[in-house]
């Protein structure tokens, strides 16, 4: 399988007044297409910073990040926006749906920015909602949906653009156990049945167990990188 993500010596340094914060201190990471990777670590370990860079929301201070062979560091802001639009889907801890906007329109959003005709946007969005089991809820507002349902709308929004990479930042952090199980079942199905690469940030070990590979971060570095029992058949771990 081809490498989807390859990071070499990624550094991210923030400057807060006079204090220099090294959020990432030389991260090397290789993720192949179709992998299901969990990134774990305490808060402040740099996992969110890494996610932001992998999601093309942020740029590394130093180092090289290639997504499908393209060096993202050299791209302009609007090119990064296009990559986010076409290749990356985001699922956030707090769902991040646009309030007072129907589920269907929330899911349409990536297609809207891609400039598809309205009819096509609607059809694809309805199909994506059906895939996460929300047919019939198209016209509900986020406030009319439960947490689990909102997160499913968010997954549908991430899926509708048929991305090659799905980034899930603590997707079950705000959900009860039952909803968490449902969401993880959906993500697992997307990975297993449709081959979408998923990177999951979490600090719950039972959630991380769904992944086939577990990367643990500490102080801006990768501490361990190993196959999980469920992912025993996965490819070699070390990049």
């Amino acid at each position: 399988m081809a490498a989807l993500i390859s990071c070499e010596d990624l550094w991210k340094i923030y400057r807060l007044g006079d204090v220099e914060v090294q959020a990432l201190r030389g991260v090397d990471l290789l993720i192949k297409e179709g992998e299901f990777v969990a990134i774990m670590g305490a808060s402040g370990s740099g996992k969110s910073t890494l996610m932001n860079i992998l999601g093309c929301l942020d740029r590394p201070t130093k180092g090289c990040y290639r997504l499908q062979g393209v060096d993202v560091g050299g791209l302009r802001a609007d090119q990064l926006a296009e990559i986010r639009n076409r290749r990356i889907g985001f699922v956030f801890q707090n769902f991040n749906l646009i309030p007072r906007t129907s589920a269907l329109e929330n899911v349409q959003l990536p297609l809207f920015y891609r400039g598809l005709p309205l009819r096509q946007q609607r059809a694809l969005a309805a199909e994506a909602l059906a895939r996460v089991g929300l047919q019939g809820r198209e016209n509900h507002y986020p406030s009319q949906l439960s947490g689990g349902q909102q997160q499913r709308v968010a997954i549908a929004r991430a899926l509708v653009a048929s991305p090659s990479l799905l980034l899930a930042d603590e997707p079950t952090g705000n959900l009860d156990t039952q909803s968490s199980l449902e969401i993880m079942a959906i993500l697992d199905g997307l990975n297993k049945k449709q081959g979408i690469t998923i990177i999951l940030v979490t600090h719950e070990t039972d959630i991380a167990a769904y992944a086939e590979r577990e990367v643990v971060m500490k102080d801006g570095r990768i501490l361990t990188d190993r196959k999980t029992p469920s992912g025993a058949s996965a490819l070699p771990v070390e990049a």
């Binding site: 926006a81 296009e82 991040n96 646009i98 809207f112 400039g115």
Partner: protein, 411 residues
Amino acid sequence: MPTFLLLTALTAVRILGRNRLRTGLTMLGIVIGVGAVIAMVSIGEGAKAAVAERVASMGTNVILILPGAVTTGGVRGGQGGVVTLTTADAVELKKRVPLLRETGWARRDVMQIVHGNKNWNGTVNGISPSYLTIRGWSFTGGGPFTQQDLDTAARVAVLGQTAVDNLFEPGEEPVGAIIRINHVPFRVIGTLAPKGQSAQGMDQDDVIFIPFSTAERKVFGTYFLGSVGALFASTERPEDLAPAVAQIREVLRQRHRLQPDQDDDFFIRTQVDIGKVHEETSETLTIMLFSIASVSLLVGGIGIMNILLVSVTERTKEIGVRMAVGATRRHILIQFLVEAMTLSVLGGCLGILVGILGARATTAVAGWPTIISPETVIAAFVFSVAVGLFFGLYPANKAAWMNPIDALRYE
């Protein structure tokens, strides 16, 4: 892109519709501003048209020559202090200035006029027959007097509408009746169509015209024969006015034997000069009202900017989400600009409505003439779009240049 713009506009309308009170208050400034501009300009235009109409009622391409001040031994007399113009001047001008179509003269005095048991103090004008054509008077009954009436100093009179109203019973036929002007009997041979107020606000219809010769010999009396109150002339085309004035001046200076170092002993006014003064007055008024209205538009624009800045801050997280799913800076910029322009265009349309109603109300209540020209409406509309664009630019830019991560993390 067209799909994007259309959907963005629809979204903007929906977002603004959710917060009706806020939207309404934000638009209020623009509504008042545009409404004020439209109402003010239409009042100004109406006033200008009324002035133009009055100036036109003087006749077309009229030149007015008035006796001027004469300096005698260092003492300067006032305007009209000395009689300097004569009928002979008019005859000579007609001969020597070919640009003039006609010349005429008049002398006026206020006199007691009696008919039956009614009497009236009216302005009696002794005139040359050409005067009525130069000033563009038309008849409602009877006709003008002739050269023969002038030659024989006939006692005939032509009455303006106000004189008719004050001397005759309603329905009574004035033509053919006998009136007495300063005890001298006159036969009425014509009545004139009303002209209304002059540019100076005087009643132009309060007049009685009699032949000049009759006036000077039988009614007014005179110091020397042929001295007149004013000379009148007209040209064929408006562009002939200026050269004609120059030639008239030269001929009159020569006839009056004025040395190069002496001032003119006459004044020359054209219709254009008279119209200009009034136009400038109403223009000044329009500019003043327009600037007041513009200030209100400016305040309205600042109101829009203020609310948009609040809106951008409130929706920081939404902006972050939109960026995360692939919105470019341009998309965000356009979204907020469209919102600003929706506000200002909606406000502008309401303002146009308010302005038109305001102008109508002014006409109905105060009786002022108002004119709402399509140009004014279009200009007001364009102006409100411009206000939206200008004051939307800063908040929209602020939204567009947010860092996606900071926007996403904003709580």
